[in-house]
């Protein structure tokens, strides 16, 4: 919605990281439209269920198309849209629970296919909308409403998992660094293939990690977030793995492989010789 909608009654809490992600997504889209000369209606935002998925209703300015489906299924929906209409720019907006919990099974297949869409994953390390249960990125031992005695699983490492599965563009970002995030999202949209921008987007209500991520010198807290070194070659998968598996959370572009064909191109190539068959031709092959 591009102005206040009195019928829509959802709000992000003050200080929610998703505000920053929204700003970056709006700016990246604006730049993308200028660069590609596409109309805004050629953009589709496929949203997950969660605080984060409400992005699709909260975008300001010229309105793209939106799809707000069921919990965890952004990737299959995005595949249906993109493979029907490869000319559209399809962007996913989802939370850590949606994308890496209930919807995790869809990441590997789309990475293997190199589906040409961009996923912006808002990781707050918690299930925000359902009021603070643990998520796949919640750390071991952390107390949440659903882990009153501490979480019994270790947190997954999303960045190394994306790399293992074959995501062909991977960036990590911080919700407060809007300029960096904007350019990482824009480049993800331009990238031919499956791109993921994984954003640390803290939840002030249930998992406020701002201080942990940015550090606090006065309190002697070292920042968990650190920048991918300038000299990193994003085409070097081994270097990307080293960064992804280092302590703390690296920020920046980790990996990019623009040489793989996208899913739609792959299929077009494989089936080119088969040629399109009409119902009439097929009917004829059953004639008695």
């Amino acid at each position: 919605m591009n102005r206040r909608n009195p019928e829509y009654d959802f709000k992000w809490c003050p200080g929610c990281g998703d505000f920053g992600v929204r700003r970056a997504l709006e700016q990246a889209t604006e730049k993308y439209l200028i660069e590609t000369e596409m109309p805004v209606e050629a953009n589709v935002v496929v949203a997950g269920i969660g605080c984060s998925g409400n992005m699709v209703h909260l975008l300001e300015g010229p309105q793209p198309y939106g799809f707000h489906g069921v919990h965890g299924r952004t990737l299959p929906v995005a595949m249906g849209i993109k493979m029907s209409r490869p000319d559209l720019n399809v962007v996913i907006a989802a939370g850590d629970g949606d994308f890496l919990g209930i919807g995790f099974e869809h990441v590997g297949p789309q990475a293997a296919r190199n589906l040409n869409v961009t996923a912006v994953v808002m990781d707050n390390g918690v299930y925000g909308l359902t009021k603070g249960q643990s998520s796949p990125t919640t750390d071991l031992g952390v107390i949440t409403s659903s882990t009153p005695y501490g979480k019994a699983e270790v947190a997954i490492n999303p960045l190394s998992i994306y790399l293992t599965m074959g995501v062909s563009y991977l960036a990590s970002a911080m919700s407060t660094k809007i300029k960096d995030m904007t350019s990482l999202i824009l480049n993800a949209m331009m990238h031919p293939g499956f791109s993921v921008v994984h954003v640390q987007s803290p939840c002030t209500e249930f998992n406020d990690t701002y201080e942990l991520l940015k550090g606090n010198r006065k309190k002697g807290i070292e920042p968990v977030a650190w920048s991918v070194p300038d000299g990193h070659d994003p085409e070097d998968i081994e270097a990307a793995f080293r960064i992804a598996t280092s302590d703390g959370i690296p920020m920046g572009l980790l990996y990019k492989d623009a040489s793989r064909p996208t899913f739609d191109r792959q299929i077009a190539g494989l089936t080119e010789k088969a040629g399109a068959k009409s119902a009439a031709e097929l009917m004829e092959s059953y004639a008695i």
């Binding site: 919605m1 909608n5 019928e7 829509y8 009654d9 959802f10 109309p39 805004v40 209606e41 050629a42 589709v44 496929v46 409400n54 699709v56 209703h57 309105q63 793209p64 198309y65 939106g66 799809f67 707000h68 489906g69 069921v70 299924r73 299959p76 929906v77 995005a78 595949m79 249906g80 849209i81 993109k82 493979m83 029907s84 209409r85 000319d87 559209l88 099974e105 869809h106 297949p109 299929i267 077009a268 089936t271 088969a274 040629g275 399109a276 068959k277 009409s278 119902a279 009439a280 097929l282 009917m283 059953y286 004639a287 008695i288």
Partner: protein
């Protein structure tokens, strides 16, 4: 004795070439102008396991697989013991003496299938040996089969001539064995070629052809019996620009991909069976809520859970009508014959596009595998409907109206959010009571657009009517014809449009003393649906994993009708 009808069953083990024989014989018979219909049942293992196929050849249109066998071809002893009870009074068993031997039982004769084939110089000619023997039993001139052999194996290869001549030789050897046996089943009347062009297809092929004829462009599915053959067919044939076909990683992925495609303007379908359908239920609810056209084919198999993957049942009706949580009522079209599989598919897309929502195309195992000659559909006379697309400027309120409204397609102006949460006019989530009332009524109100389903009705003034659904149509029709022919005052009603039911049909059904519904499930699913709509309906159920036998139906219907006449109905 002249026969108009010939029923033969081939029984043995998977991998023994039974399917080859039945396919060849049905092709041959249909090519010379007979009507044919096959029935198949498989074990779920890949190789081996007891398997049988049945073929009915007739001079007139075929309604059911046939109760009594004229001939049983037994490939092993187990098959002989299992099936000989179904051989009719004057029927004959042909068995393979390489597998077992029998004391003479007065209705069987053996021959060495493989050895005779070997004698022709072509080890693969055993099916022609069998066909030669069967042809003699029913007085079919070998020339008919020779002609089929010539057409089928003239493929422009060097080996053609050799194969054709060894197959002909095999036909003659089989015939000689049958002559020696002294058995005969009479003479099958010469075929009267059905009018107009014909095609030979099974139910899943007819359904797939119908979908393509309706303009299908996107198909995503996950393998599952008995729907896999639709996926395989689509993977092969639904290629080319503007189309997308793919094997998903699950039924959850499949339904959501098809949702994306329908939203993006495509005619889209997925096909599955019970277990997959259960996984799709949340997605089907989303299609209803966000108003996205798509077709879900459910080819029913038996039982809940993994159930009976390779057997037939009609037990998904209640599930497909209300697959999802919340207030929902999904349009359902259930074809009853191979030919109807084609037209049901066309109509499923018309409905989906017309009311902008999900439609279930409900088939079943018995139809999916059934091969039958059907009149070739005339593509030029099909009515194909396309959705009403929004063609205005940005700022459109897609869901604002209280009835169906034009649908915007991404890429063109009209941006909105297709939303599975309750929403307002532009698709933003809202909890306002007035909106939920308006949108609920809008969604249900659109079903009114689908009240154009056709139906059959005969002897409408009779107080008791037989109304089967789906694949039980054939046997029920045969039973009806026998009962009506013997003077019983009984009516006939049938439609493949199960939701919404054609209103005029529903009106006449409500006037009946009793509507008898033969259906293959335990609960009596359609009769309960009819009762909920004010019809005095009762089911005749069967849940063996097999279709009805005509004889059983005749007996059970007669019993019910007589009881009704004695006691009157107090429903």
């Amino acid at each position: 004795m002249i026969k108009n009808d010939f029923v033969v069953r081939f029984a043995g083990e998977g991998g023994q070439g039974l399917l080859t024989v039945v396919t060849a014989l049905s092709q041959a018979a249909s090519q010379v102008g007979y009507n044919v219909q096959t029935f198949a049942t498989f074990p779920s293992q890949i190789t081996g396991g007891p398997t049988w196929f049945q073929l009915r050849i007739s001079t007139s249109d075929i309604l059911s697989a046939g109760d009594d066998l004229d001939a049983l071809v037994a490939f092993n002893e187990e098959a002989y013991r299992e099936h000989r009870g179904e051989v009719g009074g004057s029927g004959v068993v042909v068995y393979n003496t390489e597998a077992f031997d029998l004391e003479s039982d007065g209705k069987s004769f053996g021959m060495p299938f493989g050895e005779l084939a070997k004698a022709t110089g072509n080890n693969r000619a055993a099916n022609f040996v069998v066909m030669g023997a069967l042809a003699h039993l029913v007085g079919m001139p070998l020339s008919m089969l020779e002609e089929f052999n010539r057409v089928k194996y003239t493929r422009g290869r060097a080996s053609d001539e050799q194969i054709v001549s060894s197959n002909n030789h095999a036909l003659a050897l089989g015939r000689d064995e049958a002559i020696k046996s002294g058995f005969s089943l009479g003479e099958l009347a010469r075929p009267t070629r059905p009018e107009g062009e014909q095609i030979l297809v099974n139910g899943n092929e007819a359904l797939s052809l119908g979908a393509l004829a309706a303009g299908l462009e996107v198909f995503v599915g996950y393998p599952i019996s008995p729907a896999s053959s639709i996926l395989v067919w689509m993977e092969k044939n639904l290629v080319g620009p503007g189309r997308f076909v793919y094997q998903g990683t699950s039924e959850i992925e499949s339904i959501n991909a098809v949702l994306g495609a329908g939203y993006a303007g495509k005619k889209a379908m997925t096909a599955t069976a019970g277990p997959g359908f259960s996984l799709m239920s949340e997605g089907i609810g989303l299609a209803w809520m966000a108003e996205i056209p798509l077709v879900v084919t459910d080819v029913q198999r038996g039982g809940p859970s993994t159930g009976l993957p390779t057997k037939t049942e009609q037990s998904d009706l209640l599930t497909v009508l209300n697959p999802s949580h919340g207030d929902i009522s999904i349009p359902v079209i259930a074809p009853g014959t191979v030919e109807e599989c084609f037209y049901a598919a066309v109509m499923a897309f018309n409905w989906a596009e017309r009311y902008q929502g999900p439609v279930v195309l409900l088939s079943e195992h018995a139809l999916s595998e059934r091969q039958k000659n059907i009149p070739k559909p005339d593509l030029s006379s099909l009515r194909i409907e396309n959705r009403i697309v929004y063609a205005g400027v940005n700022g459109y309120r897609r869901y604002e109206a209280s009835e169906l409204s034009p649908m915007p397609i991404p890429g063109a102006p009209g941006g909105y959010v297709a939303n599975g949460s309750e929403h307002d006019g532009i698709g933003d989530t809202t909890h306002l009571p007035a909106r939920h009332v308006q949108m609920t009524e809008r969604r249900f109100g659109k079903l009114k657009l689908l009240e154009d389903g056709s139906y059959e009705e005969e002897n409408a003034q009779a107080p008791v009517t037989i109304m089967p659904w789906g694949g039980s149509k054939g046997p029920a029709r045969e039973a009806y014809e026998q009962l009506a022919g013997s003077g019983m005052n009984v009516g006939w009603a049938y439609t493949m449009y199960l939701n919404p039911l054609p209103p005029a049909l529903l009106e006449t059904l409500r006037q009946k003393e009793l509507v008898l519904v033969p259906e293959l499930n335990y609960l009596g699913q359609l009769s309960s649906v009819l009762r909920a709509q004010g019809v005095r309906a009762q089911s005749i159920t069967q849940y063996t994993g097999l279709p009805f036998r005509v004889r059983d139906l005749v007996g059970r219907i007669r019993e019910r009708v007589n009881a009704t006449q004695r006691e009157g109905v107090t429903a």
